[in-house]
């Protein structure tokens, strides 16, 4: 997905829609006014949840997966939380912080929701961060992974059910050092998350005793990885760690194979490298590629079996990590409302700190130091079973959290 060079529909629409959006914003500011309280719902009547998700553009599939996961949770719970009906209002934030702010005003002003869920994109989450406190709105962060949301921008009103970029990079590093190789090459996408993930990997891998012998950052939408693959070969690593998603992951996996690296140097990355959205189109080239993820659809626990079955029945495909995050967004809201006995923000904050959740991923706990989950990660390998690609879970890395502040030497600039 070429964010950097998409001079197509999005820009065109932006031009066309710019004037219109401006006009609408004035209108919303006019009637929304001061905002103020988020407790419009009171303690009876339906629980109202405002979902701020990317439902169009290159990140639309992520927003849809979160929505599908959330809907699955509600279907399995008769659309009720703490004995009350649930109303979810889904709004498209388009991956744009400005739009996210407009949607936020709409959801908290006119619609007076009890909870916010989303967003998908970290810049949207950062744009919302200080408003939550002011308006006393609790956000269950369903995806945005920027580390700073748990560090400098941490808020009592925001709790993450996904993972941070720090965890994405660091979770598998000690395992990789001990079991796969002592010299690693790291490749990530050339944007903020890429730098945060690769930097976390570098620190954790060095801590474990390994050496990162080279790193690269490819522009999102890179068609040809020939140069990177040549550089990888020249650096002679024992393992390659990747943080690439979507088409980039598919192309990388395929070219890793066609340039002859697959048999020689093991390739491991985050959950995308074992997600059917990547491994199906990548075909045979994905066989043997490994991933570190907090969720796979074939995890064996009761909650997951129920989740996967309900999800497959409705959407005709297996849930991925993103869908699991959507499910757990509902899950966390339900547990918090039940334990707090209502939707009063202060009571909710008390129970959300340190809450433990029985999730399809196994159980996880929200660490009150970071408002970020402490969870198990699983090492998986793509294996071919009866013609289709499946993930075999090789190992479990237990209770992975993140530090409460940036560790010494943390410098995610790629330099």
């Amino acid at each position: 997905m070429g964010y950097s060079r998409k001079i197509g529909r999005r820009d065109f629409l932006k031009l066309a829609g710019g004037g219109l959006a401006g006009a609408m914003m004035l209108g919303v500011a006019g009637c929304g006014g001061g905002g103020g309280g988020g407790q419009g719902g009171g303690e009876s009547g339906p629980i109202r949840i405002g979902a701020l998700l990317t439902l169009s553009g290159p990140y639309a599939t992520l927003g849809e997966s979160i929505r599908n996961g959330m809907e699955t949770f509600l279907r399995l719970n008769d659309n009720q939380i703490g004995g009350r009906e649930v109303e979810v209002r889904y709004e498209d934030s388009e991956g744009d912080p400005q739009v996210a702010l407009r949607v936020y005003r709409q959801l908290t002003g006119q619609n007076a929701v009890d909870f916010l869920m989303g967003p998908v994109i970290s810049t949207e989450a950062l744009a919302l961060a200080n408003r939550l406190q002011r308006d006393r709105i609790i956000l269950i962060n369903s995806n945005a992974a920027a580390n700073d949301l748990s560090w400098g921008q941490k808020s009592d009103y925001s709790y993450r059910v996904s993972q941070s970029n720090y965890q994405l990079g660091a979770a598998g590093a000690p395992y990789i050092f001990e079991n796969i190789g002592k010299r690693a090459f790291a490749i990530g996408m050339d944007y903020v998350a890429g730098y945060e993930v690769i930097e976390a990997f570098r620190l954790a891998y060095q801590e474990a005793g390994g050496e990162v012998v080279g790193s690269a950052f490819s522009a999102p939408g890179t068609a040809d990885f020939a140069t990177y693959l040549t550089n990888i070969r020249r650096a002679e690593p024992e393992v390659v760690f990747s943080f690439l998603s979507g088409t980039d992951a598919i192309r990388f996996i395929q070219q890793y194979d066609s340039f002859g690296l697959k048999g020689e140097i093991p390739l491991i990355g985050h959950d995308q490298l074992a997600s059917p959205t990547v491994t199906d189109p990548a075909g045979e080239a994905a066989e043997g590629v490994m991933a570190v993820s907090f969720y796979y659809p074939n995890l064996e626990n009761e909650t997951n079996q129920r989740f996967v079955e309900a999800y497959r029945n409705e959407y005709d495909q297996s849930p991925d990590t993103i869908a699991c995050q959507g499910y757990d967004t509902g899950n966390v809201i339900a547990r918090a409302v039940e334990e707090a006995g209502g939707t009063e923000p202060d009571a909710l904050i008390e129970v959300l700190r340190g809450i433990s959740i029985d999730s399809p991923r196994g159980s996880f706990t929200i660490d009150p130091e970071t408002n970020n989950p402490v969870q198990n990660y699983y090492v998986g390998e793509n294996v071919r079973e009866g013609g289709s690609m499946d993930v075999r879970i090789i190992d479990t890395i237990e209770d992975v959290g993140m530090p409460a502040e940036p560790p010494e030497g943390y410098n995610p600039t790629g330099g």
Partner: protein, 289 residues
């Protein structure tokens, strides 16, 4: 600089350049001949790849899928030219809006039929191995793409300079009315060229499938690059598309390697530089004085 790395980059740049050539040549010749900026051309590339994807899924081999996809694109091209574009000849803004709108519609139809997920074509088994030569490892399939691009260039050279149809097209680029006055059915020639250009976009899509993959909105991305190729090389000539494609391909790959965050800027800088020296592009003729 390591020689083997440079060799791989040259080959990768050539592969990419040949794919750009296959897409741009149709765009360029159609523009030169008929004065039509077909902004749906990039989408033709993607549809070609998806058609091949379905044909392969039905169990056919790669060559069959390639031929079917090219034929399908020729049919689609004929339809677009005869039924839709025909009405807008002489109305440039109308053509731009029509073809751009068409691109959106086709992209949405792709989403309806094949879904929004990223797909990719498998590398044909026959050439699914890599070649090692003097410390350089390179996938054989990409060499095939380069070879096909060169063969296409030879074919176009032959068609242009040695055949009657080539002479008609050359004449048509210069003076449409004169050719018509000679009793040649220009309408038919136009339709034929349009269909041929669409089929070549399909060829690029299918050959690019195993390397680049495909997704519904990819056509817009490809369109920008092929417009650059056309402007760089000069309108209306296959030579321009050939040299422009290779140049842009090389600049993309080398830019990625040495100035990763500037790679697209460098392509535009190259274009600006060429236009300063040769305002009509490398092989384009200067605008009539």
């Amino acid at each position: 600089m390591d020689l083997s790395a440079v060799a791989v980059q040259v080959l990768a740049g050539l592969t990419y350049g040949m794919l750009l050539f296959m897409i741009s040549v149709g765009l360029s010749v159609i523009f030169g001949l008929m004065g039509i900026v077909n902004l749906a051309h990039g989408v033709f590339f993607v549809v070609g790849a998806y058609v091949a994807f379905s044909v392969l899924g039905a169990g056919a081999n790669f060559l069959v899928a390639l031929v079917v996809a090219m034929l399908a694109m020729a049919v689609l091209g004929t339809f677009v030219e005869r039924v839709l574009l025909f009405r807008s000849y002489g109305d440039e803004l109308g053509q731009v809006l029509l073809t751009f709108g068409l691109a959106f519609i086709i992209a949405d139809i792709i989403k309806m039929i094949w879904g929004n997920r990223l797909q990719s074509l498998p590398t044909p088994a026959l050439v699914d191995f890599s070649v090692s030569l003097g410390g350089v490892t390179f996938p054989a399939y990409r060499l095939v793409v380069v070879l096909v691009g060169c063969l296409l260039a030879v074919l176009l050279w032959y068609l242009e300079s040695r055949t009657r149809i080539g002479a008609i097209i050359r004449a048509g680029v210069d003076d449409r009315q004169m050719v018509a006055a000679l009793g040649i059915n220009v309408t038919l020639v136009f339709t034929g060229v349009f269909a041929f250009g669409a089929a070549l976009a399909g060829l690029g899509g299918v050959l690019g499938g195993p390397v680049l993959g495909m997704y519904p909105d990819m056509g817009f991305e490809i369109l920008v690059l092929s417009l650059i190729v056309v402007v760089l090389g000069g309108l209306g000539t296959w030579k321009g598309a050939f040299v422009g494609g290779i140049l842009v391909g090389m600049v993309e790959i080398f830019g990625q390697a040495y100035f990763p965050s500037l790679s697209l800027v460098i392509v535009f800088l190259l274009m600006a530089g060429v236009l300063l020296v040769r305002p009509a592009g490398l092989f384009g003729r200067s605008p009539a004085a």
